[in-house]
Point group: D3
Amino acid sequence: MFRHDQHLQFHAKPEKPDALFAMKLQEILGGQFGEMTVMMQYLWQGWTCRVPGKYKDMIMDIGTEEIGHVEMLTTMLARLLEGAPAETTEKAVAANPVLAAVIGGMNPQHAIVGGGGPLPRDSQGVPWNASYIVASGNLLADFRSNVAAEAQSRLQTSRVMGMTDDPGVKEMLRFNLARDTYHQQQWLLGIEQLIADGYVEHGIENSNGDQENADHNHTFWSFGTDSRACEGRWAQGPSLIGGPDLDCLAEPVALTDDTPLPPPPDPKLFVTYDGSQGPGKPGNAAGAHQQGLTNVVKKVKDALE
Amino acid sequence: MFRHDQHLQFHAKPEKPDALFAMKLQEILGGQFGEMTVMMQYLWQGWTCRVPGKYKDMIMDIGTEEIGHVEMLTTMLARLLEGAPAETTEKAVAANPVLAAVIGGMNPQHAIVGGGGPLPRDSQGVPWNASYIVASGNLLADFRSNVAAEAQSRLQTSRVMGMTDDPGVKEMLRFNLARDTYHQQQWLLGIEQLIADGYVEHGIENSNGDQENADHNHTFWSFGTDSRACEGRWAQGPSLIGGPDLDCLAEPVALTDDTPLPPPPDPKLFVTYDGSQGPGKPGNAAGAHQQGLTNVVKKVKDALE
Amino acid sequence: MFRHDQHLQFHAKPEKPDALFAMKLQEILGGQFGEMTVMMQYLWQGWTCRVPGKYKDMIMDIGTEEIGHVEMLTTMLARLLEGAPAETTEKAVAANPVLAAVIGGMNPQHAIVGGGGPLPRDSQGVPWNASYIVASGNLLADFRSNVAAEAQSRLQTSRVMGMTDDPGVKEMLRFNLARDTYHQQQWLLGIEQLIADGYVEHGIENSNGDQENADHNHTFWSFGTDSRACEGRWAQGPSLIGGPDLDCLAEPVALTDDTPLPPPPDPKLFVTYDGSQGPGKPGNAAGAHQQGLTNVVKKVKDALE
Amino acid sequence: MFRHDQHLQFHAKPEKPDALFAMKLQEILGGQFGEMTVMMQYLWQGWTCRVPGKYKDMIMDIGTEEIGHVEMLTTMLARLLEGAPAETTEKAVAANPVLAAVIGGMNPQHAIVGGGGPLPRDSQGVPWNASYIVASGNLLADFRSNVAAEAQSRLQTSRVMGMTDDPGVKEMLRFNLARDTYHQQQWLLGIEQLIADGYVEHGIENSNGDQENADHNHTFWSFGTDSRACEGRWAQGPSLIGGPDLDCLAEPVALTDDTPLPPPPDPKLFVTYDGSQGPGKPGNAAGAHQQGLTNVVKKVKDALE
Amino acid sequence: MFRHDQHLQFHAKPEKPDALFAMKLQEILGGQFGEMTVMMQYLWQGWTCRVPGKYKDMIMDIGTEEIGHVEMLTTMLARLLEGAPAETTEKAVAANPVLAAVIGGMNPQHAIVGGGGPLPRDSQGVPWNASYIVASGNLLADFRSNVAAEAQSRLQTSRVMGMTDDPGVKEMLRFNLARDTYHQQQWLLGIEQLIADGYVEHGIENSNGDQENADHNHTFWSFGTDSRACEGRWAQGPSLIGGPDLDCLAEPVALTDDTPLPPPPDPKLFVTYDGSQGPGKPGNAAGAHQQGLTNVVKKVKDALE
Amino acid sequence: MFRHDQHLQFHAKPEKPDALFAMKLQEILGGQFGEMTVMMQYLWQGWTCRVPGKYKDMIMDIGTEEIGHVEMLTTMLARLLEGAPAETTEKAVAANPVLAAVIGGMNPQHAIVGGGGPLPRDSQGVPWNASYIVASGNLLADFRSNVAAEAQSRLQTSRVMGMTDDPGVKEMLRFNLARDTYHQQQWLLGIEQLIADGYVEHGIENSNGDQENADHNHTFWSFGTDSRACEGRWAQGPSLIGGPDLDCLAEPVALTDDTPLPPPPDPKLFVTYDGSQGPGKPGNAAGAHQQGLTNVVKKVKDALE
């Protein structure tokens, strides 16, 4: 259950409106790595976290903070949009020709849809969607996604900051930058904590590790002409998970002579076919699929007796 | 420019068809963290990489490898779909009642749209889209995204592997697991290499670092009742970037008494308003916006003289 | 079955072209509340309406009218786009520097994709999609959605109208405003008619009303510090559906001491877990799920005997 | 700024797991009218509300409540998914053939992506997106959208409730039904309050009302053969906004002889054209568009002098 | 303007309900090549067609027919969904265990969202969207798209028909097949008519044909090892547009020694860069971009004098 | 498996940067008919092609070529974006007022998201998605889609070319035009080859041709008032597939007196209904659906004996 404190976590007051910049600022609110993304990603990870105590609480805490960041951004945007041109181009041009440039660049949905308010969309007007986020239940994999989200988010904030001189906007963005710096650390240290607490061995996701094909977990394959990729650390030196040193396959050859030819098609699907692999296999209960369920009828019988 | 070698990089032959499993396997082909995602993400990062030599070549090499992984998955899927039921439910049920279960679970688009072939979609039929990927030009931020993608991708592969007993499928997935293990290392070592080569100081994205609000880059804010989050390493001990130790704000108070109230609206937008902040500012050239472009007319004049 | 009358329902002739305004006008054609939305929503509701006679006919009638509104908008847009700049920026600038502003603001897809014609997209270029609409078969719920769609659509039309001075465009929009006014009434009166005809008791959707938890259907919960929400009519006075008066819960406390902790995870899914809730429950046929299908095997046996 | 109370607002404990029902329950969490929609819609409307006091506080309060409803649903889903089959079909079938049906119907992303947890998606796996919501700043139009969302949401909850017999699930859904009943009233009474407080005259959105074409705001147009739609209240009796009584146009004729023919195309766009309307108008600065910016150059000159 | 005839164009009566088949049938209503696609594509092309008379009328006529096809499909779906299981799995299983299979395969949105009615979505629940359609104004290019849409649509109809034995459903689908056969011809003959009427020279879209690089418009490039593609008609024999015979480039070499290295980045964007191409070019008014607008200030001055 | 040649297939060097044009050029990279679409469509068709030899190799060859075209476009875009304005509007305006126009029109994601690089999106910022492509396994239907894609793609390239005067850009686009001309032929000749090789009879998709309703496969239906569509070749003359001549139905009458009325609804779905068709049929195992599975229980029994 949540509660709302009527004050903003931090200032969100521009010195003056700027509708053109507002359009750009939408990116770090409703874009792929905007505040909506981290808010939803952390809340979702928190709700599905199976480790009560410091881990679950930490994720819920930051998720709750991020709702407040969305609140700061929406407030800032509404203020940047104050008095934004919503009249005819001609009128605007009459009073100030150069203003036409701003009118051209503005997002008209800020007026038509939002009534002078922010939109849950990115800087190009694409609505936020939940395929931006992940909550897998595996804290190592999710903390990796969280470090990435904070790094990209910080980078975009930094780029957006260069597009304004407004001291009020910059003050808020300096706060945001700082939180993104801290949050990157928070997730990296979360991984260290997972190791310290014995949840994972190291920082590499390796579930079903005993089943992986160990011949192919330490080799860089180089597919380009004159590639110099083998010079990098990733192609030499000790592995991060023990075992053989990393190496480089400079002239890779396919590990099989198999070609990507699908099997003969079901005639009922009218797929073009020359018959070279024999008659197509119709998808019926007497066909190939039955093999995948061999003895099921027998098992039903057995179960009933 | 690319070339195609007609052989698959690795085997992609199931022992027998399994249309129900094919539906699930779509996730690691066309899902958020499927092979299409890493293929497109790496190619895109490679094409936009500004550091020729080992970095650019490495990214292009792995991008090229991943096209081949998409090829392996599509081939495997077409083979798993061989002879999949494409007839009426009643007929299938007549020959083998339990088969109806499989028919219920299958993805009908495999037959109707794909003609017994794979789809560029996830396991729920959502088409792959480019907002799954990122290519920012900043190698640190992008390598972080790449580690995350490989970790999530490996985890999903591991989960999917538990849903089949087919030795042919498992053999391919064991290869995929190994590549995902190696590729996680590749990107982590890429970050180490960036540090060694002097491109970045440490693994924290900190562009415009001198501008960030240093008061807020080392503190965990705890917003939950009885939260135990302050017990974690992320809330104590040395920072990863120097400066003050990390600390914990257990009873956070808003840093401002500002509330999220937008300014008075433009009357032409018909937003509900009580007038308490004074008259709404109409969005015209003589209005508030003009302040944001103070002296522009003068500047045009000056520029012309 | 439908027929086409070659005349437009109403005039759709701008006095002169205006490509910048055309971009904005797209919102009320292909946006969330554009003409495509009401056209598709009403047709769909009409086709699925189970009450023949005045209800079904009314919905089909307005759905058919709306196809004609889409026709009016597409025609208006094509005319607004006449002679829109499709040449190089430099050439346009050479002849008329301020025109560059318009070129900046235009939607290039109008030229590249539409050939100087309208697009089935909103003012930001997002394609129309069917998740904007609803047709539930429940006329009360759907008429509520229809009132909302007409109100939002009218508001957006009104905002867009303020962005043009073209008398031809304004004449058409004045017609659209009038239809939106009438259509709001049409749906509200449709609800009154549903009550008069005995299909519903009142305007509140209350299916399975006898099962709802009557303790919680008349109380406002206030979650904000210093919230003044309890002063409103929604938190006091008689309920619209009878029963206890509305009241206000100013200091709400959770109704349970349950916390959002998920159960122990299936070990095969590699979810991070500390074992504190006992061993994870593997998702197999002998596991927890079997309980959900208790005695099914027995029932199969019984059914067969 | 927000805070998190570690207790759920209400119970969310199923008696036993049910992965097949979990798939269906996703609809009222991540669907068009799920809890994510109302949570985001109300928060967004609250942040952009310009009327401080009871209106803004009320919207923020319910937005905050809805975050907690998302929390309840995610918790319920994780519990319903406990021990859900994540093994091979064959193994499940071996132990209990009928279980195969459930496996067929389950959402595999619950295991592969969510690790046995909920997804921010609907019952068909479509990710939630922000085009489900609206926040226009106009409280009348938005409250109409909110009544509709609550009515549809309640209806869907009611339908989903019929698909389970689990007493724990039903207990939670009975609470949800009650809240949806109350919330419908809350928004309807919100409209009454807007009228009482003088923000609007009546419940019909009528911005720019003086500009609408009064000839067409009270007439039903009937486009169907043998339509009986004129029998309804919407086609007779007093208007809700005063003025002439409603009436019915049973044999509608187009109000214009205009046909939807676009103007001659720009030759540079290679649109098929027979020249019948004269030469195509090229989109250049000397062409038709210049008319739309008549005298702009002159105005620049004037402004500078 | 449109009118509605209350009769269906053709029968849409299944002999008996079949909810599992209804899920599949959604593909040819709301999928990529479903009836919604052709309806919207043709209406849109009709409204934007610049050639009055037989071309424009033909497109509008078929667009109008297709609205009626959507009507037939929605009606058929509602009838197939009659009495579809909307109760608990356990109850269904109690009465008829095998029915569980059908319940697993059904689309739950048919009940929860559609109330037993059709959905504007494909067979996997993805909402229809307008990026499935095209209306370019160029009749040759659009008729090509229309032939393709009818061919794919007919193929999918044919595949779906194999999934039912219901004589009522098959009767309707036989009608649909016939229309798709005719409509393929209609568009191919439309292209012949365009040639006969002199709108195009041949069936190849060749706008700006005089500008294309004639060295590269007749050669097949073969990028695969051991490719046999040069054996086909596409790699030999006369061109369809005159000029040199087609030929085959079996061992293609890049036409340039350029590599895909982007230029030095703007330092304000924090892109990783080694400086090897000289200092990054900052994106300011004094920088590189100014070159693209050379003399604009001068032109403004000239225009004003 | 694929390999990368470090050289571009063709030049991709603009003479000078042009960020405004870069925004437009995105359409033919990441739009509906951009290079990403043909790349993915051909690779997917190649992987699922069942006819080894010249057909499969041809499709794989062109798919591989198209990856290289995406590479050319991304490189061109990064170069066009060199030094694009990423500073404040005010600063840009200070140095060059008209530059503000360009800043208004630029895509801010090029800077914020792409770091001065291309985006996998169209010219309006909509991310590329896989529902743009098709791979049905039926070569005739797919080659039809491919002709259409090349025709639309060529048309858009031609339109975009008119928007630039940059000789470097134009040189690349002239190459692209030529390839699109050739590729249209390639697919049309592919259809001729399919006929010559006996895979299809003619160019009309006619699977299940013996089942189609032959009464309706040669008639144009005209639904418009005063339609002149019957004058076209599509409504007269010989059919392309033999049989009766094409004809025209100028005054079409519905072929049935059926109206689109759905059956009585399941009472548990709370659909509005007047009972006129008798009691609603509840969706239970004893209800209507059982008819669709007549004798299934008996069949299970038989199968087990």
